[in-house]
């Protein structure tokens, strides 16, 4: 499509799309601002207790004094833990999903175990993990991993198994090997599944890490939370 060939109608259409996009972003921003303003006002009017919910101005204060109060360090620790848990969860999850896709036998054998592991409250494993891995960053990352791994496996495997059979058959008509079917059909066909699982997982890893920090931590956002708040 050449720029000069754009008709009036086309321009109108493109303008409409852009206007719509801007409207969505503006609305999103207004909701966010409204929320923060409401929070601040309600806290000031003592309608909500800022001792429990904090208050935007106090949060800003804390952020402004990043270097002196050590939030940066704790933020860094939590972020690192989450990222390590997240990335290892995704890599391991995809790897295991590929393995299970490859071998129907393995998939059948592991199915009930995966279902049980998935329904298991991973948080309850916390103490065991501490004993095994040691009370430190390792335990926290393991926690993050434990929460996200099984979901990743199940989600990716499900996507793999639901790949359009016609596409696979088409590749087979060209004598594709199983490895080629995996790399040229199954994986590219599941890119969106993969990204969806990433979106869910980054959140799950954070939940895992924060839970881990609840149990054992010398640093991180959670410990920061507790120091700054006198216990009830």
């Amino acid at each position: 499509m050449h720029e000069k060939n754009i008709s009036e109608d086309r321009k109108k259409y493109l303008r409409k799309i852009r206007a719509n996009k801007i409207l969505v972003i503006l609305t999103q921003l207004s909701i966010l601002i409204l929320f923060i303003v409401l929070w601040e006002v309600l806290a000031n009017k003592k309608i909500i207790d800022s001792f429990i919910t904090s208050q935007p101005s106090k949060i800003i204060d804390t952020f402004l004094n990043l270097s002196s109060n050590g939030l940066l360090k704790h933020l860094g620790v939590t972020l690192t833990e989450t990222l390590i848990g997240f990335i290892s969860g995704v890599i391991l999850g995809v790897f295991i999903a590929i393995l299970l896709w490859w071998s129907k036998f393995l998939a059948k054998v592991s199915e009930p175990f995966l279902v049980i592991l998935n329904s298991l409250p991973k948080v309850a494993l916390g103490p065991v993990i501490i004993v095994w891995v040691g009370a430190g960053m390792g335990a926290i990352i393991t926690m993050g991993l434990a929460i996200s791994l099984i979901v990743t496996i199940l989600e990716i495997l499900n996507g793999f198994l639901n790949t359009d059979k016609e596409l696979i058959k088409m590749a087979q008509t060209f004598n594709a090997t199983k490895f080629q079917i995996l790399t040229k059909i199954v994986i590219p066909a599941n890119i969106s599944t993969f990204f969806n699982s990433l979106k869910v997982n980054i959140g799950l890893s954070l939940v895992g890490v924060i839970t881990g920090e609840f149990l054992v931590s010398k640093a991180g956002l959670r410990i920061f939370n507790s120091i700054w708040r006198p216990s009830f």
Partner: protein
Amino acid sequence: MKKVLELKNISKKYQAKNGEIEALKDINFCVNEGEFVSIIGPSGCGKSTLLSIISGLEPKTEGEIKVEGRIGYMLQRDSLLEWKNIYDNVMFGLEISRKKTKESQTYVEELLKKYGLYDFKDKYPNQLSGGMRQRAALIRTLAINPKILLLDEAFSALDYQTRIMVTNDIFKILKNEGITALIVTHDISEAISMSNRVIVLSKRPATVKNVHTIDFEMENRTPINCRESPKFSKYFDTIWKELDVHA
């Protein structure tokens, strides 16, 4: 005439949990070079299984298959990969069989030019019409230089009008490229309009019930113009009765 494909006493039994299913029994026929042969039969009689066996996707239980040259296979849907552009899509077969050479690339480009897809080679499948997608799928198959093409209910995913046009289109391309075709269909008119011979299969276990030679005695026969021939409905009636369809 030279035989491109010959089937001798082909049988197929499936093992299922609830027993053994005999799908095909003693199938014998051959396809000569340049010929278009259709296989028609009641639904579920094992027509598609037969093609899968010929192409080697499924093992046969008994019998012998002789094939001259490579086999191309076209499925019900075009199965273009939405994440690849048309050029990469039509190169897919060559990519898989690791035959992506300079010559093959030039050949594919020639095909794209000849059949009006060259200007669309950088587009993605969802930007093309149904007919163009089918043509791209055909070029993908032709790229591996098949001697015989198996069409398994190809085009049946298209709407009626498009399908008639696409059938005509594909027929001309295949004739032009001198390719032999074996077509599986459940559509009697499609079978008659495209083929030199129609093989009628029986219910399961499928055997060859009859073979009709189709001859319209016209020059430049195409799937569309032969429909106007008075012989068309005669063939239709005969095959319809033989299929013995009960609702």
